[in-house]
């Protein structure tokens, strides 16, 4: 399973789960948020974990600027 966390300005993130079922994606997302909280990064959900479909607003990648890792 591949998960992408996009860290945006002003302390916001968007988490994309790219494969698996929606139930698996929800469980993975909740686990990651719990792990972040344990590591001192307490994130508050903005809305629900949404199934990707037309009409869900989210960031779109324009350009990869550089590799850090």
């Amino acid at each position: 399973m591949q998960v992408r966390l996009i860290v945006l300005p002003q302390g916001k993130i968007q988490i994309f789960v790219d494969d698996g079922t929606f139930e698996e994606a929800v469980n993975a997302t909740r686990a990651i948020l719990a792990e972040l909280a344990c590591q001192g990064v307490p994130m508050e959900l903005i809305g629900d974990i949404e199934q990707h479909r037309d009409g869900v607003s989210h960031v779109h990648v324009l350009q990869e600027a550089r590799h850090d890792h």
Partner: protein, 145 residues
């Protein structure tokens, strides 16, 4: 991977207090002082004190006093320096916002590395379109079993 292949999308955020707490004096004071020295060399900026989450800078021998406490700024200035002081306040506010963003990105990366180790398979800085606004962001990819 194109976004239309994602299964789920989740939005979350930390509080403003969390972001401001990242702006401790030990990581902020040098950055702000260098910025002031570059932008206002004629005002001879000086760092007067830095401890915990509080920093005090003097410009023009104290005619402008910039104080940052818990990531929030105040500025005191003589009447003659009021306009200059407001410009400095606006510029340093933007600088602190960028610094908080960088610190937050690093904090997330550190947390993911600590918990997921080699399963954190990439970290990149990217440009994104966020509801019509171009923003720089960091993307971290986890490969989970």
């Amino acid at each position: 991977m194109p976004c239309n292949l994602a299964v789920s999308i989740t939005k979350a955020a930390v509080t403003e207090d969390h972001l401001r707490a990242l702006l401790t004096a030990d990581v902020t004071s040098d950055v702000v002082l260098r910025f002031l020295e570059q932008q206002y060399p004629h005002l001879s900026p000086r760092l007067i004190s830095a401890s915990g989450s509080r920093m005090v800078f003097w410009l023009d021998s104290g005619d402008i006093t910039l104080t940052i406490t818990n990531g929030q700024m105040t500025v005191d200035a003589t009447r003659a320096q009021q306009q200059q002081a407001h410009a400095i306040l606006a510029q340093v506010s933007q600088l602190l916002a960028r610094l908080a963003d960088q610190r937050f990105q690093r904090q997330v990366q550190t947390a993911l590395s600590a918990r997921f180790g080699a399963r954190l398979t990439s970290a990149q800085v990217i440009d994104v379109d966020n509801e019509g606004e171009c923003q720089q962001a960091a993307v971290f990819t986890l490969t989970l079993s």
